[in-house]
Structures are given as structure tokens and as C-alpha cells.
């Protein structure tokens, strides 16, 4: 490296520093406790640092559709295409339009809440690995990333809800307080379970990327494990003994709550073309009004509230596991 300018001589560069022994130093009083630099209170810390969370959410929204021409439109195209496939395949090919009244509302209300869950879970699982650059160098609560992924998915619920609220009145839907409560409850349920699962799997995905692939398979099961492309009454009729287990699924509960709010109010008193009740099944329909009464389980709101409590516990468990595994995240990434 030839030196042209004597001023640029490296020997002189260090000389710009006043030697430590000669420098005048100010005294800085730090009004903070001596604490571990990495300490945090997990998910609670995330909500204490809302500004950072907001930046991350905004970033995720931008990044998800970066360098794509249709951009944000994809968040409509995705659920809408799903809707039309189900509406056509289930409705016309498998002829559920004939037996399920207002099947379109049934499907679409279910898609919104299911899609919210699958997005939170899927994107949340990938969140830590995809934010590698930040995770490795910045000290921040890593719960931020799965939580941000959940909030981004929640953000995408809004336009879909708008579509539903515009369409539903054409099917005779009228808003009600109980309906609104059911919607809020369903969303809270999916926020809790979505975040908890995202926490568990985001850290697992750091250890082994297999978990990311496993999650996409699980999400297939989720879509079929909820009364979305078939009515709940079919489960009651075909698998009467399994209904209780079916209802242990929080996502199915959330879907039923959503349908309680949007689909049930659009139904006429007795749905035409009921499904036949099989011989010997322990299900009795009211005279003249066969399927509607058993189309929704009893005490849906109460079930939802119990699930909500279970969700809080599950989130606490997920946080506990996350905290245990988190320490090795930077080195395993």
C-alpha cells in the first residue's frame, strides 16, 4: 500500500487520539441497576416495548410482499382463491349447497379465522430464522418476532372482515352484541393459541429446520379439522362419539364462534335438506327442525371462555419452553 500523502500515514492516524492518561474525563452518573443485559420478562416485555413492536410489524408487512407486483393484494387473493375452490368443490361437486343453507357464508367466516391462525402459526414459526441478521447481533426480546408475525396476520384479518360485513347482510345477517362478543372471543382465542404455538415452533425451528416443514403439514390438518368445508352437523352425524374430542380443538371452537356470529343468524328457522340422522345415533333433532339445533354445540360462549383460560396456560407453558431454549438461539441459527 503506497503512501502518497504523509498526512495519511497510518502511524499518524492513531495519533489523533489524546492518550488515555492525559485526557480530561467527565464523570458520568448512571442511574440504573446492575442487571443482566439479556434479562427480560418474555411476552410481557414485548408489549412494554410497543414502539419497537410497531416497527417490526410494519417491517413484516412490507417484507412479506416485497418485490411483488400485486403486493398487499396477495393477502386478499390467497383467502379468496381458497374460498372459491371450497365453494365450488364442496358446494357444487360434493353438493353441499343443497344441504347447507348459505354455505358461502359458512365457508368464508370459517376461512377468515382459520387463515388468521394458520398465518400466525406458519409465519411465526419462520420468524426467528428469517430475522437471523437482527437476532444474532441485537439484544432484544426474541418473543418479539413470533408476536409480530401474529399481529401482521391479525392486520390481514381486517380487510377480510370488511368483505364479510359487506356480503353478510345480503344473506339476511343482522349484527348483534352476542355475535360481536363471539367474534372477539374467537379472535382472542386464536391470538393466544397462535402466539403460543408460534413461540414453541419458532425456537424449535432454530434448532432443526424440520419443524418448519412439519408445521406446514400440520396446517393441512388444521384446515380439515375445523367445520369449514363441511358443517359441524356432519361430524355429529358421522362420528357422534367423537364430537367431544372434536370440540377440544380450540381452532374448531373459534370457527364455531365465528359461524355463530355470521352464519347462524342468516339461517331460516329450519334449514331445508337436512342430513339424515343415522339409525341408532344418539342425536335427536327437534320435530320439524332436524339439523339446526345440533348444528352448533351448546354453551359455545362458555366453551370459548374455558378455552381462553386454557390458552393463557398454554401460552405460559410456551413461554417457559421458549425461555429454556432461547439461550442457544444465536449459536444455532
Amino acid at each position: 500500500m503506497p503512501e502518497t500523502d504523509p498526512e495519511e500515514n497510518p502511524n499518524k492516524l492513531a495519533a489523533v487520539i489524546t492518550p488515555a492518561s492525559e485526557a480530561q474525563r467527565a464523570v458520568r452518573v448512571v442511574d440504573a441497576p446492575l442487571a443482566p443485559p439479556s434479562a427480560n420478562q418474555g411476552v410481557l416485555e414485548v408489549f412494554r416495548r410497543r414502539y419497537l413492536l410497531r416497527i417490526l410489524v410494519r417491517r413484516e408487512i412490507q417484507a412479506r410482499y416485497q418485490s411483488s407486483f400485486l403486493g398487499f393484494l396477495w393477502s386478499y387473493i390467497n383467502p379468496l382463491s381458497q374460498f372459491f375452490i371450497y365453494w365450488f368443490v364442496m358446494g357444487y361437486i360434493l353438493m353441499l349447497h343443497a344441504s347447507v343453507e348459505n354455505f358461502a357464508i359458512h365457508i368464508f367466516s370459517a376461512i377468515i379465522i382459520t387463515h388468521f391462525f394458520t398465518e400466525s402459526f406458519g409465519a411465526g414459526t419462520r420468524s426467528i430464522v428469517s430475522n437471523k441478521a437482527l437476532v444474532q447481533k441485537m439484544a432484544m426480546p426474541r418473543e418479539m418476532f413470533p408476536v409480530a408475525a401474529m399481529l401482521v396476520s391479525l392486520w390481514h384479518v381486517v380487510p377480510q372482515m370488511v368483505i364479510l360485513l359487506i356480503v353478510a347482510p345480503f344473506y339476511g345477517w343482522v349484527p348483534s352484541f352476542t355475535g360481536a362478543f363471539a367474534v372477539v372471543l374467537a379472535i382472542l382465542l386464536m391470538m393466544l393459541f397462535g402466539t403460543a404455538l408460534a413461540l414453541l415452533f419458532s425456537v424449535a425451528n432454530v434448532y432443526f429446520r424440520d419443524f418448519g416443514s412439519a408445521v406446514s403439514i400440520m396446517l393441512h390438518f388444521v384446515r380439515f379439522g375445523v367445520p369449514m368445508i363441511y358443517p359441524f352437523s356432519m361430524i355429529v352425524v358421522q362420528f357422534p362419539g367423537l364430537v367431544d374430542y372434536y370440540l377440544l380443538n380450540p381452532i374448531a371452537n373459534a370457527v364455531l364462534l365465528f359461524q355463530d356470529a355470521f352464519w347462524i343468524p342468516t339461517l331460516s328457522a329450519c334449514a331445508p335438506g337436512e342430513l339424515p340422522v343415522p339409525e341408532g345415533a344418539d342425536i335427536h333433532a327437534k320435530a320439524g327442525c332436524t339439523m339446526l339445533d345440533i348444528a352448533q354445540p351448546d354453551h359455545l360462549i362458555e366453551r370459548g371462555l374455558i378455552m381462553l383460560a386454557a390458552g393463557v396456560l398454554f401460552l405460559a407453558f410456551a413461554q417457559w419452553v421458549f425461555t429454556k431454549l432461547e439461550a442457544k438461539i444465536p449459536e444455532r441459527l
Binding site: P10, V16, I17, V27, A32, L34, I55, K137, A139, P330
Partner: protein, 266 residues
Amino acid sequence: MTVSVQVDHATKNFTLRYHRNLKDMTVAMLKGREVSNRFTAVDDVSFTIEQGESVGLMGLNGSGKSTLLKMINGTMRPDSGSVLTRGRIAGLIATGAGFHPQLTGKENIYLNAAVLGLSEKETDAIFDDVVEFADIGRFLNTPVGTYSSGMYSRLGFSVAVHIDSDIFLADEVLAVGDKPFKRKCLAKMQEIRDSGRTVVYVSHAAASVQRMCDRVIVLENGRVGFDGDVDEGIHYLKYDEDDEPQPADGKRSRLAEADDELGADI
């Protein structure tokens, strides 16, 4: 004097995995080869840094400097022992800031500041200074993934120095910048030191450590090999020796020659 950084018997192990999938692992196990191995990057390190001290952290490559710094900065936790710090920590780890490659320079400034606990207003207040110091011009609004390594580290350094932190970590900060920028950096670091902030300076350049720091800690294979006076520390590391002894007209120039030799001009 208050304690700023307290490292107490901190140990950090890494597991080296030679195989990452089931097939490779099974084959290795069947052949009796080892599947993983433990490596102690930081081994029972203890020291205390007072507020306002300027400490040079030295050691050969792989001696555990960056791992130790990551524990002080909070991105890593010690497996055993403890690391305690007081106040806000800013700085650069392993020559770069934690930037998101997809975000623009501007967005990254806000993100980086938010991670360090600044509010939007506080960031607005320092924003112009950060941009001016980094001098990245029209690249400010392009994703940092497209930056040259020099621009990347300039922006990182600029954010780190403009945040009012209590502890400043500088890990090989000057390895990639050009000379005019290095000069600016040194002046800025001196300003930080003289403002009473704690400085932990990692560098292989003995001359700059000598002038910047009051104390040197030398790591050797993850352990503290030396902790004390700057000149003695540099001597301990043998960074003040030259392979071809030159007519030395004083210690300063000999050190500088050694820096030249190491290619670490700062």
C-alpha cells in the same frame, strides 16, 4: 466509582455439530466418528469494569473476544457464571451492526435505535447527525443489503456512537472503513471516552489501543491471560515486537511499525 460491567466466572460453551441431518449422523455413529464436540469459547472469565473506564480487549483470533462481547451486549447468555451491566449498551459486534438487509438505511436507523430503547422522538433528534456522520448520501433510502461493506459498517458505527449509551462496545470497528472515516471514528470514540462512558475496545492495533485505553484485558483460548496496564498487556501479547527489528527511535514508532506489519493500521 460505580461498577459498569461485572463478569463473574462467565463460561460459554459451543457445541460443534459435524452433521446436521439424520442420515449423516447415523453414518457417523456407525463408523464410530464423533457426532459433536464441545468447544469452550469463554472459559471462567472474571473481571470488573468501572463506569468511565476505557478497556482494550485483545487476543488472537478465536480467543473469545466477540463471544465475550456478545455476552456483555446481551445477545448471548453465559452457560454458567454471570454477566451484569449497568445502563444502556450500544456498539458494534463483529464489525457490523444488527441491520435488516431488506430494510433501507433510514428504516434500519430507526429499528436499530428502537432496539436500543430509543423512542421515535429521540431517534428523530439524532437522525440528521447519524446520516451526516455515516455519509452514505443517496443510499440512505435503499436496502442495506445492497450496501458495500464499508457503507454498512459506517452506518452501523454512526448509529452506535450517536446513541447516548452508558457502555460503548467497539469490536474491530475500524476494520473496513477508509482512512478519512477512520480518523472521524477515532475522534468520535475519544469523545465518547472523555464523556465518561465506559468503552470496551476490541482491536488488534496496538497503537490505537495504547492511546485509547487505560487498561488491557488479554484473552487466551477463552481465559483471561492478562489484565492490567496497557503497555504491559501489549507486551504480553507480543504485539509490540517486530519480526525485523528496525532502528527504533522510541516506543511509539515501534508500535506503529508493528501495526503496519499486522496490516491493522488502526
